[in-house]
Symmetry: C3
Subunit: 429 residues, 3 copies
């Protein structure tokens, strides 16, 4: 549990809020490249960190992110003309480039120098790693883009999906570092299947670790503080001699990496939870294979709606959502799966949204299996307080510190998982 004051401090990210200032020290992914497919294409309207913004790709292919409101008389630039290296307001023709400079002001006399005095709020933006990012903080603190494992890979090694989640970003990240819930939320184990072994679906290839999460549902957590965030290990009993470790990466401020297969060389999954406002966030789900391109079959599987990539409409609104109770199928829930909700992404989303858009943490009862969540909150609060005292975040200023990976390993009980998994956890091919 967390006091209401700390809860507010931790979750709210609008301009001027402490956590908002902290997050604005990082590059923030917010669009898919497909949303700005070509120079001079239609602009995109978006809320980000509680700010109304318009993004556009200019004639040179550079990306601009500006205030939604024209500084003249506040008409929306979403309806603007994206033309000749700038976005032009349709009301009186004022035009701004990606730097926020007013480059044309045809409604004023030519001899007027008013144009040179007017700027629009503009944020630097980059296309990188299969996403479009922007930096909303002070210019003097702008870091390099984070060298997160999936970013420098070619597109062929990566699948990225986007969906809106109707809950605050923190409770969404909390779901991503909670290695305990996979024994339940994503499980296919039900009393019916337990009592009717002949009805159980055939075991899938490589699903041995799933059995460990089934047989040991109360993992022991160890959380290590790192430069970039947290290294979270959840230990489960495998057999008499061995432990099964799931090692999750939490990269500040809102990235997570899910432990994948115990066999090396397989794909990894991860998420970014980006605040839209205090009650919703963009979920970017990334599947990547550092070693090789995805096969056509694998890509198809990613878009099947069964895994972490939720199916959405063209506005990135999930087809399963709170308005339709995530299409819960009570028969499925009774007999076949733990939730009756289809899709790992949908299961996560449904649960996290069901806690209320900004959950009331003073009403929680945390146990030892919530160690990672407790550590994450403590870290977030500390990072934010540090910044208020003038101490910059190490993670924000050291993009190379992001070169890590999640992993799961099966090791002898007397081995040190940090040593055994060291190779897997470093982001090197």
């Amino acid at each position: 549990m967390l006091s209401d004051a700390d809860n507010e401090y931790m979750c709210r990210v609008g301009p001027g809020t402490p956590m908002g200032e902290y997050l604005r020290r990082f590059w923030i992914p917010f669009l898919l490249p497909e949303e700005l497919p070509e120079p001079d294409c239609p602009p995109v309207r978006t809320m980000l960190m509680n700010e109304e913004l318009v993004a556009f790709k200019d004639t040179n292919g550079d990306i601009g992110v500006v205030d939604n409101y024209c500084p003249h008389r506040r008409a929306s630039l979403f309806f603007g003309r994206n033309e000749e290296c700038g976005i032009r307001c349709v009301y009186h023709g004022w035009k701004f480039d990606i730097n926020g400079d007013c480059v044309d002001m045809p409604s004023e006399p030519a001899e007027s120098n008013f144009k040179d005095k007017v700027k629009i709020k503009a944020y630097p933006a980059r296309e990188y790693g299969g996403l479009i990012w922007c930096y909303m903080g002070p210019a003097e603190h702008m870091p390099e883009l984070p060298e997160i494992d999936w970013a420098p890979l070619p597109d062929s090694h990566r699948v990225i999906s986007k969906r809106i989640q109707e809950s605050n970003w923190v409770q969404s990240v909390e779901g991503g570092i909670d290695s305990s819930h996979i024994s339940f939320l994503h499980s296919g184990v039900t009393p019916f299947l337990r009592d009717n072994p002949d009805k159980r679906p055939p075991a899938r290839v490589g699903s041995q670790q799933v059995n460990f999460t089934t047989t040991d549902t109360s993992p022991r957590f160890v959380v290590d503080e790192t430069d970039y965030g947290l290294l979270i290990s959840a230990r489960r009993d495998a057999d008499q001699d061995r432990y099964y470790f799931r090692i999750t990466q939490m990269l500040l401020p809102f990235y997570t990496m899910i432990p994948g297969s115990i066999e090396p060389g397989r794909q990894i999954g991860g998420h970014a939870w980006v605040p839209v406002d205090d009650y919703s966030c963009w979920n970017f789900s990334i599947s990547w294979n550092p070693y090789r391109p995805f096969t056509e079959e694998e890509v198809k599987e990613h878009w099947s709606g069964a895994g972490i990539h939720a199916l959405t409409d063209h506005n990135y609104v999930p087809l399963s959502n709170s308005r339709n109770d995530y299409m819960i199928d009570r028969e499925q829930q009774r007999y076949r799966t733990f939730t009756g909700i289809r899709g790992i992404g949908e299961q996560d989303m449904g649960t996290q949204e069901s806690m209320g858009a900004l959950t009331w943490r003073a009403g929680e009862h945390l146990g030892s299996s919530d160690s990672a969540i407790i550590a994450y909150r403590r870290r977030l609060l500390k990072e934010c307080r540090n910044l208020q005292e003038g101490i910059e975040s190490y993670a924000a200023t050291h993009p190379e510190s992001y070169k890590v990976r999640s992993a799961s390993v099966l090791i002898k009980r007397d081995e040190d998982y940090r040593v055994a998994a060291a190779d897997r956890l470093a982001a090197r091919i």
Copy 2:
């Protein structure tokens, strides 16, 4: 009229409000049995008295009513698994029984005793009298279920419908004890029919009393305070020698019984108005015949949409509602009926909702025909203030006091209606 302060005091029922505390001394009906049809069926999510709750019927057929939010990390138990005598959260598998005890906590180590320290808010619930009830007050004050006339009857003697009403419970009850409005709202008398007697519909059998409500539109009210609530008589002139009395029962806190036919042995109608939140309530409409089962024809008539049972969708939302102006038919209104709205229930609902969800009583102008409403408000306020001073409600603690009935009688002008109707008003067959 009522001061804004008294209006708030009287109408708001959330946890901690004075009226909320008062209502929580009573058993409160809130579901139809059809909503929890069998053991281990899907749970039902509901708002009741401003609290978000989940109801479930467990493996034994016992009913649980618990907080919507799992006390662990506040995922909604609506998505939970109703299995093996408890409801299990799908997030981390915590399981609660109908008493609110945590009976399984598989995410924590077996040796942990955390499970024994965690409870969820849980309210006792019963199926009784064709409804599911819960008790939300202090355990030491829990009374027996009220012995209201329609409750102990077999199902065959009773029809119950449920609909949401988008107005505060008090103004809804006020409609139920307002014996004056039947001369207008439910009337078929219009200037057009007055001036065109040949267009009038044929008189229905047993509709003599309707004529009295037509010919005398300003009834004289006498309101008697009773142990259980109010006995409300509205006197109309019948003929030179006789009065027509409509005697309505108001049973605290929110039950009403409508005077039926002057012939004894006929069916009675009544309502319960149960606060969902401060701006909406459940309306349960009950038709019952204490003396014999309803015929098939009578049941069909109850569900025809013409009487007090409104037609609804499967979420108990009326088909006629504020979004479609209650399907008012202006031609019907002009020529045939007073409102142009079909259905007695719909007429009541439309009018009561049109006052605003929580009506502004300081803007009223009450007359002598509002005597029952004035008495009801005074009684509610007094009961509530009494409880704040430690005096328990007689009605809440004496369920046998509810054994009364409404009636209408046609008596000599010098007779005492209380004596003449005594037999009819007692709930005995």
Copy 3:
């Protein structure tokens, strides 16, 4: 820009606000005659100046505008019976005439004189000039109806349309007096057409002045204070010897007249922006020809959706609206028109709504082309402050002062436009 305090003072119009009191000194148009087509027709529910009202046409054809809420128990009179010279509440039959007197109270005893003590809020209303108007101010200050140019004309000389606009009335009026935006918002000039002269549409007859707004996009403004409001002239270079003047009329509090063709004898266009609440207003668009009836062809053109008359549904909600981004067509915007939005009315509406329902004027940057807007705000604030000090508005009390017209003229550079256009600006045939 305007301080937040002045912005609130200027925009909010509910009962008791200073600007609300000021506006209530004027007759206010709010319905089309087609909404109350005949005596005893169904009443119309409307919000006006933040008050919930019901309008009805009584048996005599007189129009009543009364409080939405019956003063008895506050049921909505929208569901009332419009019959025999009054509107009757369906709850208990209380009936009110257009003066707000209670003319029947059948629920109370005949000997009661309660009826004579009850009144309902009622405003005088008139049908005039193709609109229905009401006066919401103090009786002792009620003026005559304004003699605005289009009002006394026969219907054949006039087309009036109505649509809801989801923005505050002031920012809507500001659009109407902004003679600068026509060089952009309503323009067909795009970089594509500039670079591809062969793709340009053929010049329309009489479109010479459009070329001036294209070639000179930064008009010089002169704003004259007048008794009735403002006379706004926007001067553009025509050729070496001549100026093109567009002269807009602003008639207090919310009427505008658009400069039409430079040829005399042509039609004029104008608007009324009537506050519904602080976040929306009715737009009445009026096209009129003082000299002759519209031809069938002209009427058809007015309803084509290309001009100032937006296409709406039967509730006067525009078909192009914020929910569908005003049906913006990005291909059209890129190649053919400045906005990609069809219809002059829709272009204005889309832009004005996009500023936010009550725009934040402290965030503006006004230039010399905003002179008329600055003058309008200053005038509004002054008029309102005057009234607070007891000085009545000249415009409100002198309906004959509205007899003016907008015009555009092409004159020698050394001519005085006021002299040259004097004949055109006076509302005389």
